[in-house]
């Protein structure tokens, strides 16, 4: 619902890092979005193109790594997927502990550094 303000956060981080590493052009941005982070990946794509226009990230490849909701049972250790109809080796419902699914962070960015003059070193 608030993907534009999320994207503002992404760009703050990206531009901050670009400055730190003297990047003059951003070519790739990868962010990690958990299943229950409350963020809609499709809406993020749209928000990205809106923010990128006219910036050093215009034309950059924007990718989203989705992380599913997973947990485990604290008693028997069995890994669990999702939240509905959970069953493990224990009798009765698992002692659920959430492991992944709430992530929301900028993972990596790639860009070009003007001083070195040539590209393609990846």
């Amino acid at each position: 619902m608030h993907e534009l303000s999320i994207m503002q956060g992404v760009f703050d981080i990206v531009l901050d890092n670009a400055e730190k590493h003297s990047l003059t052009k951003i070519t790739k941005i990868n962010i990690v979005v958990g299943e229950i982070s409350g963020v809609e990946p499709e809406a993020l794509d749209f928000a990205f193109s809106y923010f990128a226009r006219g910036s050093i990230a215009e034309g950059a490849e924007f990718s989203i790594t989705r992380v599913p909701l997973t947990g485990r049972c604290r008693r028997c250790g069995e890994k669990l997927q999702g939240l509905v109809n959970l069953e493990c080796k224990c009798e009765g419902p698992p002692a659920y502990e959430m492991l992944t699914g709430t992530e929301l962070y900028v993972n990596t960015i790639a860009g070009e550094n003007e001083e070195d003059g040539y590209d393609e070193a990846d």
Binding site: M1, H2, S5, I6, G9, V10, D12, I13, V14, N17, H21, L23, T27, K28, I31, I36, S37, G38, L69, L83, V84, L86, P93, P94, A95, Y96, M98, T102, L104, Y105, V106, N107, T108, I109, A110, G111, E112, N113, D116, G117, Y118, D119, E120, A121, D122
Partner: protein
Amino acid sequence: MTKQIEVVSDILQANDQLSLELKLLFDSKGIFVINFMGSPGAGKTSILEKLVQTIKSEVKMAVIEGDLYTSKDAQRIEAQGIPVTQINTCGGCHLDSSMIQQALTALALDDLDLLIIENVGNLVCPSSYDLGEDIKMVALSVTEGDDKPIKYPAMFQRAQLVILNKIDLLEYTNFSLDHALGDIKTINPALEVFNLSCRTGEGIIELAQYISSQIAAKRTRPQTTER
């Protein structure tokens, strides 16, 4: 040359940082702060009205009202005779720490034991934005259905207290307490649950006592910032 940078930076870090600053401010003043969330129509403002009536004689409290456009909720709280300040998000789906920081300028913090922030009615986004609070409190009314905890797990996972409101209507709905509580226990085993009805008054005293005990606990707890 192309450079790859491992950034690994939380997208909400700006809010998290400001939230931490607010938390330190509230701690230094000994104010217990509640971030109150829930769907539109869950009864957040009605619960607040009842709560204010019950504890305002013993507790110095103020309310920050988050609302999309109107001041209807703030007027209802103001009628209870306590300080209230309004934040209009103008369509924004949640409150964030910078809005709280601004709203605080209208409140006399040195004279407060309890601050309740009523968030925008929404079970999704508000759970991602910390506001410097001690606890997140969620109102869930039985008319919304017992599937809400499992459909909005982030909200219930990050909360410390859930109020099952409109409990007087339980027999007229197909809301299953077993289902709802079972799911809540799965998502967040430590979540405190209060059954409550603003119409009959059931559960208001218990909620008020719980909050009063939390205020007292915070006041007696030594604050790191004062050491």
